[in-house]
């Protein structure tokens, strides 16, 4: 490709653009007097083809610019990685601080968006255990989200228990489903595992849709109890037993939204804390080893079966927590909320963030969930810009936003001083 001149290359690109845009943009349908009529739009096509030509030429010329010394793109990338490592030190506390104070400063709509994003962060962190650490490609993560949501809704309706009493049960039930799914698919790897998990996600949704006597089918379940703060309810009155009444505040719907925000923030941080702790322990380390080489794991006496099951169960458990939160936040759930699109979005967050990176999940959620909301004023063009942004990002950072892996244990300074001596030996 580089053998062709930039001009010829740009011309070829323009030709392809012409072929694509001539029918798609160049012909507009009008509802005329005698049915639908076609109106040609040559100017629009010419403008697009011209833009493609100019852009392609610019890209080629930029690529062909003389490289500075021997540095090249490798060194530039290393510098970028170092800069990212530096920013990481204050990026995490900054993000956390913004997350904590945000509800006091932002509008209600922004807090709602914050809740949505934190839900996806939590789901992303949960799936990161399965996909990022253990390397098991799971396309049906939404199943556990649905199990958690329906578990909470059904248990709460049957027993009258509140959110906090039902939350552990939702997590445990989702984990049980994780193990149930895990058993038959343990022998599968990669693409095959992905297909089976995808099917599992759909099975759960279709069962929820058709088991009308239990789940209400497409009508869903409504009137799910809202969460309380140590028994204090969030209502529009300031009577006894309500949040506003206890703290002598004017009743406001914002209180509940803010409370929900902090609940999901807490749950997400719990997920993160558990994952980070597990990563530094034998279980987390063996998950990563499993991702690297399953056969070698077996040769070291590691039971691959149970290790995979623990990854499925822990990931599913956090998916279940997130599902219970979703149910209590919405007050209403139906199978429509648990489509394959959700699994795909969460998986995209994990992959885009960089497999196994906790910070990557947060950044990717900002892009994937925050991005489309930010571009909402651009109406129809927002999905175009969103798609373009994703393509550009995957071209620039093909292995995800955060690719560096932090070792789970370091030997320390004494050992790190020695490599210099070794390097000197190699040079000398």
């Amino acid at each position: 490709m580089n053998a062709r001149g930039p001009l010829a290359d740009a011309f070829l690109s323009a030709l392809i653009a012409l072929g694509l845009f001539a029918p798609m943009v160049g012909l507009e349908t009008h509802v005329g007097a005698h049915g639908i009529a076609l109106a040609p739009r040559p100017l629009a096509v010419a403008a697009l083809v011209g833009a493609v030509f100019v852009l392609r030429l610019a890209v080629r010329l930029w690529q062909a610019r003389p490289h500075r010394a021997a540095a090249g793109p490798g060194a530039a990338r290393a510098r970028l990685a170092a800069a990212l490592g530096g920013t990481k030190r204050f990026l995490i506390p900054t993000l956390l601080a913004i997350a904590v104070v945000m509800p006091f400063l932002a509008s209600r709509a922004t807090i709602d968006l914050g809740i949505l994003m934190l839900t996806y962060v939590m789901l992303g962190w949960g799936l990161n255990i399965v996909v990022g650490l253990a390397g098991l490609l799971d396309l049906g993560y939404v199943a556990f989200y649905a199990v958690g949501a329906y578990s909470y809704a059904l248990i709460a309706q049957a027993t009258g228990l509140g959110f906090w009493s039902c939350l552990p049960a939702s997590g445990v039930l989702a984990a049980l489903w994780g193990i149930t799914l895990g058993f038959p698919v343990l022998r599968l790897r990669g693409d095959y595992l992905a297909i089976v998990t995808l099917a599992f996600g759909e099975i759960i949704r279709i069962v929820l849709l058709n088991w009308v006597s239990l789940t209400g089918g497409p009508n869903g379940i409504s009137g799910i109890p809202r969460p309380t703060l140590f028994g204090l309810r969030f209502t529009m009155t300031d009577g006894p037993g309500t949040f506003a009444g206890f703290f002598h505040l004017a009743p406001s719907p914002t209180h509940r939204v803010m409370f929900l925000y902090y609940v999901i923030l807490g749950l997400a941080l719990l997920t993160n804390w558990v994952t980070l702790r597990l990563r530094r322990q034998p279980l987390g380390r063996v998950w990563e080893a499993l991702r690297e080489d399953e056969i070698a794991c077996r040769s070291l006496g590691i039971n691959v079966t149970t290790t995979k099951l623990t990854a499925f169960a822990v990931g599913a458990c956090f998916g279940g927590f997130a599902g219970a939160f979703f149910a209590t936040r919405q007050g209403f759930i139906s199978p429509e909320s648990f489509t394959f699109m959700e699994s795909a979005t969460v998986l995209a967050i994990v992959v885009l963030g960089g497999m196994g990176s906790q910070l990557g999940v947060v950044l990717a959620t900002l892009v994937m969930i925050g991005g489309p909301e930010m571009f909402r004023p651009l109406a129809d063009y927002r999905m175009l810009i969103f798609g373009l942004a994703l393509v550009v990002m995957m071209v620039l950072r093909p292995r995800g936003l955060v690719t560096e892996r932090r070792p789970s244990i370091m030997l320390g300074a004494a050992a790190r001083a020695a490599p210099l001596a070794l390097a000197a030996e190699e040079v000398g």
């Binding site: 558990v274 702790r277 597990l278 322990q281 034998p282 279980l283 380390r285 063996v286 990563e288 080893a289 991702r291 690297e292 080489d293 056969i295 070698a296 794991c297 077996r298 040769s299 070291l300 006496g301 590691i302 039971n303 691959v304 623990t310 892996r405 070792p407 789970s408 244990i409 370091m410 030997l411 050992a415 790190r416 020695a418 490599p419 001596a421 070794l422």
Partner: protein
């Protein structure tokens, strides 16, 4: 070195392995004695790696028995054990012909994963350790110390925090052996450990293997490099086309006309005509 009365550690009896119509191993019997280095040699396709995979539980043999003597005098029937228990309970660790390290993880992490079983037992199913309870910290310190002692032995202490995949080839081979040794095996099975090493690395490898034997671990070794095999082995088993054609000390095997025939590609009839004197 090879004591005639050494205890048998691994007994392979009438081992057979068929893949569809292909017979990879046919009625193979040999023993590996405790405290010895037993080498399995033979031309390409002789069934050496198949035998290894049967012994280490990666294949289930079509016929025959594999028994490993337990310290208390009983024995493990390896052919009937689930794969991961062969390493965990019977103490048979192995390396691979094409190195299988956890390439993205650091050298130290590789050695800690090998000590997963004792470490996991100390974490109380992971729950106690998440909360910082239990004696996990002490167990981890001990595991790191053990890893460090192995890193010193294989001269990789300085690279402990580097990804295993970034090491030079020879170092990766040594690391894989150290990782297998962190399982505390009674029998270490090495599949072509000298493949791709330069002469000085091969010499170091020989010294390392002799040291492992001196510390009480028995070794079973597949190797093509005859210098290594003849120098360090106590006992050699020669395979050809799935059968054992010779078994004995290096000197005996070197003088066996069947072995020479197999390596030079002569057929069995002419092997009998070959005089032992022509052996280099």
């Amino acid at each position: 070195m090879a004591a005639e009365d050494a205890m048998p550690l691994l007994a392979v009896r009438r081992l057979g392995m068929r893949f569809g119509g292909i017979t990879a191993l046919d009625d193979l019997s040999f023993t590996a004695r405790r405290g010895e280095i037993t080498a399995v040699i033979g031309p390409n396709g002789a069934g050496k790696t198949t035998a290894f995979n049967c012994i280490t539980g990666f294949y289930r043999p079509s016929s025959g028995e594999l028994s490993l003597t337990r310290p208390d005098g009983g024995s493990y029937a390896l052919a009937k054990m689930p794969g991961h228990l062969i390493a965990r309970r019977a103490g048979v660790a192995r390396t691979f012909q094409n190195i299988r390290l956890f390439a993205g993880m650091t050298v130290l992490e590789n050695l800690l994963v090998a000590q997963h079983i004792p470490l996991m037992a100390a974490t109380g199913f992971g729950i106690l350790a998440i909360l910082g309870l239990g004696h996990y910290r002490r167990a981890e310190r001990q595991a790191v110390e053990k890893a460090k002692s192995w890193l010193e032995r294989i001269d990789l202490l300085a690279r402990a925090d580097d990804p295993a995949g970034s090491l030079p080839y020879g170092a990766q081979r040594r690391l894989e052996i150290a990782r297998a040794m962190c399982v505390d095996p009674v029998l270490l099975c090495l599949d072509e450990p000298a493949a791709g090493l330069n002469p000085s690395e091969t010499a170091e490898l020989g010294a390392l293997l002799l040291r492992i034997r001196a510390e009480g671990c028995s070794l079973l070794l597949i190797e093509h490099d005859m210098n290594v095999v003849m120098r360090i082995s106590d006992h050699i088993v020669v395979l050809d086309r799935g059968r054992k054609i010779s078994d004995g000390t290096p000197a005996e095997v070197r003088a066996d006309p069947h072995v020479i025939a197999a390596y030079l590609g002569e057929d069995d009839e002419s092997a009998d005509d070959l005089a032992p004197e022509v052996v280099p």
